[in-house]
Amino acid sequence: MKRSLATAVAGGWLAAGWVAFALLPWYWLDLSRGLQDFVDFPLGVGGSALALGVAGDRPWLLLLAFPLLLATLALVLPLARGPGGALLTLGGVLGGLYLLAQGFAIGLKGWDWGWLGAAFGGTPRQEGLGPGGTLLLLAFLLLTCQGLARRGWCRGDAFVVSAIGTVVALIALFVFFPVARVLAHAVIDPSGAFALAGFVARISDHSIWGLDCLAGPLRCGVAWNTLLLASLVGVGSTLLGLAFALVATRSNSRFKGVLRILSVLPIITPPFVIGLALILIFGRSGIASTLLAEWLDVPRSRWIYGLPGILLAQLLAFTPIAFMILIGVVQGISPALEEAATTLRAGRWTTFRTITFPLLRPGLANAFLVGFVESMADFGNPLVLGGNYDVLSTKIFFAVVGAAVDESRAAVLAIVLLSFTLLAFFVQQAWLGKKVYTTVAGKGDGGLPAPLPRRVALLAAAVVAPWSVFMISVYGIIMVGGFVKSLGRDYTPTLVHLSTAFRIDWGNHGLRFAGSAWDSFFATIQVAAVAAPLTAALGLLTGYLLTRQSFAGKRAFEFGTLLSFAIPGTVIGVSYIVAFNVPPFELTGTGLILVLCFVFRNMPVGVRAGVATLSQIDRSLDEASLTLGASSATTVRRVVMPLLRPALIAALVYSFVRAMTSVSAVIFLVSAKYNMATTYIVGRVEAGEFGLAIAYSATLIVVMLLAIVGIQLAVGERKLGRRAAPQPTGRTL
């Protein structure tokens, strides 16, 4: 029964492959031109591979029929499972490789690989893969997986092999391939030749590594700037986060609720909005500067533009993340350990110094590294507040879109940034692997956490109170700033900014969204709404594979999924335009590239949600289902998915929100048709239209707050609950 099902699935993919080859339009189509591409069907722009190969000028496409035939033989011939699987795998692998090879070898302007041109001559051309090409590639991939399953991979479970194959292929295509392209760009000069000397010269450039600032008034290299900023932010946000975590967990403070809300805010705040608010407070005509100038005659200055401003903005943005990491660690310390110390006659301060703090150290290291990586990846705040203080992320941006476009310089800077973040990421992984979870025992812990020693409590309160006031006033500015004429100058309340952005007219043609922000607003919602379910599905599937299946190369697989988390958005943005601007995967300028970018940027969130939830669900539930004769696919559908629903909702909304607030990667990828809200706002800031920018930002924050409240309600309503502990007082026994 099961075997015939597997044959049916393989047969389905084979049929899809033949349809993709013989009937579907092979190349990328611009459907906005209507059906004119299909006038000459099956030839012409919308023609199929078979037709173009036989009668058109693309004879190389015909070779694709050969691996398809191999796969067909594997399914039709009465072969045993093993040899049949081998033949199927062979067909799938050959087909996939040849499809990719011809795609990369022959581009828009002829041979992309010179030696092939020398061998075959002529100048064949082709465009990027379209529906037919993509479907056939997918069919080859899944036929390979079916073949491998027949050869006994993953206990012969075709569903698991296919899931692993699909996730690996997608990560390879949309994470590793673009990053590899960027790296290749760095060592290739504009003419396309390999130039290692040029690369060495560029990467050791004085503007990157110069140390002039130590000796005199000159500026240091951009790498040092970035490292300095990241280290300061890492230390600062960790200390602030620790103070917040201690106050939240170990004092009788009534502000715990406020702290919780403050920890949610950065998730729904577009990253540069805090920088914007700081300008409105401390800029030359900001509120604080004006007050100081008028009351105390302090001259207005531009001190906020540069290191102080970026540091302040990033501390505001990333302290809540450090707080969230540390509160978990603080809560994870078993009270029994502290109680044990107390019963051994240690005082509060001794207990804190000798027990609590040492147990916190792994958490502190982790929080530091996260702050460090986030600071280096941040793009919005340096863009808004940077002034003359250059960091890598903005330098990369200006190397791509600035006056002097220099892609290989951008690639070199991206490599420097990537190596810094990867280094930090490796250190963090090494820490995490060994330390963090050791304080959480599987057994229930009774007891009360020790109260903080007085001096620590006072210090923490002294840090937390003013910082909270500061943070609240920054968000107050964001909420209020869009509704006065001009902050710092004219406080007349007005709705003019909001109406410029979001005016709705009743015209002759009915409802008309006349506001300037509507286009980007709708595009953002649309892209985020498409990306969120894909992100959640891919992330949770990956989480399932990581927690519930064992297969060769699982460690590498896990590392690959985590890696896309460690790559800064600017690097992803640059790599996507470098990789997806040319065939065979020609995606720039489409909404699809934005969706893909969000899916693979935010997928680790889904993975983590899935892994966290699944590791709380007893594994024997899956095993019970398997021993009852359910296949892996059925088990996922009927047992795992219903139990994962909370994680699903969380992943959905989180990826939706992240897609709406992201700026660093998408700023490279937006087009006239698909402008995103964040890039639109950045444009308004650069044009000096602060009121409009802040009104738009406030609107976005409110929209996302509604989304968050939405999940809280949805998650709160789940009826699953945990299985109650077995109660031995049964009636019927």
Partner: protein, 362 residues
């Protein structure tokens, strides 16, 4: 492969039960040997216990039968058919998990009907089969409850019903009593044994509790260090342990040094301190041996036998337990609870009954 069920069922007792056979099965995790070249056979319609301390490989063995772990080497046969390469889905084996593993998002009846329904049985038929099986385990009337509303014993019965509903060739239990309190354990284990005999099921049962194993099993396989230490009926294991490990693990035993003298037929003269006993020699040669003495094979009297002193005493109602210091070491002794109390420090005479003493093969 599991056969799809129709609406009409075979009588459970008439269903064909299969044997389970391990032929030199090995399971390795990296460099760790979990099961080391283990061979045994479980006859159809018998209940066989895999008994051993934690980490001995008994649960891995059970999971190998289920197909939840794949053997590194060796062959596994169920009903004479080689299933070594088959996944859990494709083996006709059901399992009752230690944690019960009831699906928390399904009601009692949905849990039990899950097996038939994933086999393609129509919902109404699947639920009819489930209701019938629930009645069999005495849970009629609780079909619509949520699993979290049941007591531990009831949850356990749901887990058994869910495993039974497909009429598997082999039913597996992984420490099924460990989440129940002491009183309930005895009744549930009697229920399991009763069900197994009534339906003539082939059952493999994992436990670390030797008393539980003695009570329910047709045969017991004692495992230690990833290997089979001894296999036999409960009585064989208790009365003729093949090794020091088995003697200590099954029932309590005092291990003492002794001297084998003359061998006559199946019996030998064994010298224990200044006493002389006649015991089956079990292959021992004249010279130093070790004896396993059951605590109830030792009697305490005012005088006579081996001289000893009471070291510790505890009263457990049904029995009294003593630790007695003697020339051959400290002995653990149980006597009926109604016997007169002996206080620590008192001198006693220690006697032995031969049928509670075995010579341990070296």
């Amino acid at each position: 492969m599991k056969t799809p069920h129709s609406g009409t069922r075979r009588s459970p007792a008439a269903a064909a039960r299969a044997s389970v056979e391990f032929r030199a099965v090995t399971k390795r995790y990296g460099s760790v040997m979990a099961v080391d070249a283990v061979s045994f056979t479980i006859e159809p319609g018998t209940l066989v216990t895999l008994l051993g301390p934690s980490g001995c490989g008994k649960t891995t063995t059970l999971r190998l039968i289920a197909g939840l772990e794949m053997a590194t080497a060796g062959r596994i046969l169920i009903g004479g058919e080689d299933v070594t390469a088959r996944s859990a889905t494709d083996r006709d084996v059901s399992m009752v998990f230690q944690s019960y593993a009831l699906f928390p998002h399904m009601s009692v009846i949905e849990n039990v009907a899950y097996g038939p329904s994933v086999q393609g049985v129509r919902k109404a038929d699947a639920e009819a089969m489930a209701a019938e099986t629930l009645a069999l385990v005495g849970l009629r009337g609780l079909e619509q409850r949520s699993t979290s509303e049941l007591s531990g014993g009831q949850q356990q019965r749901v887990a058994v019903a869910r495993a039974l509903v497909l009429e598997p060739q082999v039913l597996l239990f992984d420490e099924p009593l460990s989440n129940l309190d002491a009183k309930l354990r005895r009744r549930v284990r009697e229920d399991i044994r009763d069900l197994q005999q009534r339906l003539n099921l082939t059952v493999a049962y994992v436990t670390h509790d030797q008393e539980e194993a003695l009570a329910v099993s047709d045969r017991i396989i004692v495992m230690a260090h990833a290997q089979v230490a001894q296999e036999g009926s409960p009585r064989e294991l208790y009365e003729a342990p093949a090794s020091l490990f088995v003697a200590e693990f099954i029932g309590d035993a005092n291990i003492v040094a002794a001297e084998v003298g003359a061998i006559v037929g199946a019996e030998a003269t064994v010298r224990l301190a200044d006493l002389e006993l006649r015991l089956p020699h079990r292959g021992a040669r004249p010279g130093a041996v070790r004896l396993a003495i059951r605590p109830d094979a030792i009697s305490l009297a005012e005088t006579g036998g081996l001289a000893g002193t009471i070291l510790k005493a505890s009263y457990l109602g049904k029995v009294r337990e003593y630790t007695v210091r003697t020339a051959i070491g400290d002995l653990f002794v149980t006597v009926p609870g109604r016997a007169e109390a002996l206080v620590p420090g008192r001198a006693v005479g220690v006697g032995f009954t031969a049928d509670g003493i075995v010579v341990l093969p070296e």
